[in-house]
């Protein structure tokens, strides 16, 4: 049992570590609320990778060239890999992948709302790479310096791959824009649909994001939602110009004074409705994941039963 004095000392140590931008490691003492927040955030990130396999995975079968099929298959596979690292990071905090999968498919934990929008053309594969992975990178690069060690290290690896994906997505769109009129129209239509949901990926405006302050104090988060959103817009506008697509925001313009772009607000009612589960694909995504999990139950059981038999045989052999 830890006495109150010990606890105060541990808390002080923890705060010092965070303040020095050092890492908290699995065996270090940490406040229960911190642990819970990290688990929730990492789990949500892991779920997003896994659910994020679906909207793009749906197009592997229809990829219009073998080269694009290989690129897409490898990308979706990377997402599964990211899910793996991240679930491993939660395991260092004593929460298993099975437990988290249960929370995902029962709706107890969330994933990024962007994946509740449908992918409706092959251009969407490019747009997801460009805008969605682009927004994810803006969110995630700072997380490489997040205070929880295993999470930060996973993020370093993930960010490297994500920026590769982003370039591939942008390159697909570039290629399509050099193609036929129909292809150019596909790209524009896709950007029209994904622009606003991409902006929503940074979460609600700062004044409607009550948890940000605590997460920043703990070094889990390092920038506010609106800061990251601004960074994303500023980064993306010149890319859109180079691509010859229009971003569907009449309020979007360069503000000389601020040295940044002004831009309109996404439809936050739509955002909350998607978060609450009424987005175009929420039910479908969860049902897909649940079906895969349920359909695989007998395989996981077989693997465990076989492993048990193996180990009891080797015990007998050594006995």
């Amino acid at each position: 049992m830890t006495s109150a004095v010990d606890e105060a000392r541990l808390q002080a140590q923890f705060e010092a570590t965070v303040a020095h931008k050092d890492r908290i490691e699995p065996r270090d003492w940490m406040p229960e609320a911190y642990r819970k927040t990290v688990v929730r955030q990492v789990a949500q990130h892991a779920h997003s990778e896994i659910i994020g396999m679906q909207p793009e995975g749906d197009w592997i079968g229809r990829a219009p060239s073998l080269r694009r099929k290989a690129i897409l298959l490898a990308k979706v596979q990377d997402e599964a890999g990211h899910g793996l690292y991240l679930y491993s990071a939660t395991e260092t905090l004593g929460v298993s992948r099975d437990e988290l999968t249960e929370r995902l498919i029962t709706g107890a934990q969330k994933y990024s709302s962007i994946f509740n929008y449908p992918t409706l053309s092959y251009a969407d594969v490019g747009t997801i790479g460009w805008l969605v992975d682009g927004a994810a990178i803006c969110n995630q690069v700072p997380l490489c310096r997040t205070s929880y060690g295993p999470y930060g290290r996973a993020m370093i690896r993930i960010c490297k791959e994500e920026s590769f994906h982003q370039r591939q997505g942008y390159e697909l769109l570039m290629t399509m824009m050099r193609g036929t009129d129909e292809q150019r129209a596909m790209v524009q239509e896709s950007v029209d649909r994904f622009w606003w949901p991409s902006l929503m990926m940074f979460g609600p405006p700062d004044d409607a994001s009550p948890n940000t302050a605590q997460s920043m104090a703990w070094g889990i988060k390092t920038h506010t939602n609106d800061e990251l959103r601004q960074r994303f817009v500023d980064m993306t506008v010149p890319q859109a110009v180079a691509l010859w697509v229009t971003l569907p925001d009449p309020e979007l313009r360069w503000n000389e004074e601020r040295g940044a772009h002004d831009f309109g607000q996404p439809d936050w009612d739509e955002f909350w409705s998607v978060v609450k589960g009424d987005g175009p694909c929420n039910a479908q995504r969860i049902a897909h994941r649940k079906k895969a999990w349920d359909d695989g139950a007998w395989v996981r059981e077989a693997a465990m039963a076989f492993a048990d038999k193996q180990s009891s045989q080797s015990e007998e052999a050594t006995a």
Binding site: Y87, A292, F306, K309
Partner: protein
Amino acid sequence: PAVLAAYCLMLGDDALVLSQRISEWCSRAPDLEEDIALANIALDLLGQARLLLARAAAADPAAVPALPEGSPVPDEDRLAFFRDDTAFRNVRLAEVPNGDFAETITRLLLFSTWRLALFERLAGSRDAVVAAVAAKGAKELAYHRDFAARWFVTLAQGTDESRRRALDALGALWPLWPELFETHGVERAAAEAGVGVDPASVAAEVDVVLEQVLAASAVERPEARPLAGAHGWKGRDGVHTEALGGMLAEMQSVARAHPRGQW
């Protein structure tokens, strides 16, 4: 060159079609590790297919479907996306639907055991490209076979349910097995020309490998008889199961909608 092209199409189509099937598992596998492993296998096969289709196109440009003038679609994609199913030359084992995980594993076991034996010999092909593809591919296929064999044994020796499913899978696929060792005219000609391998010539050695896996699984060979063709025509002749047409309808849909598209 026509023989070489036709032979490369056969081997390329085997890989392309099975890759397409396996990639259907993406986001649907029993656990993340298998999801990643199956995607990897699909990627390996896709890579083999691309090299072999490109070789076929180079060896015999007449084998490549024509498209509207000025179409930028490369040869490998013309072959993959602009042939009808009767022009596909894969064995039927590659095209049948995935079924459950046991059926997918069992198919992969049969397919990769057979293809590995072919590729080990093809590494000595007189065609340098085929030889190189085979040498690289053999390493990949050895991994695929080991993955499939490990899972087959696991399922066969796991729970009652998994054993039942493994046995059902083997029974369902067994009628497609003999087709893999029937020598098609193109294969015979390619073997005689020293660029290909007669599949009948690897039957005995494949059998030994498969027997080891079955023995470790305590599974006996099913009784099922070979699946007939139409007038003797089977996959290598372009006479497939109905499943291939549906698969290609999906696979080719975007490419066909944009015959002048760039991707």
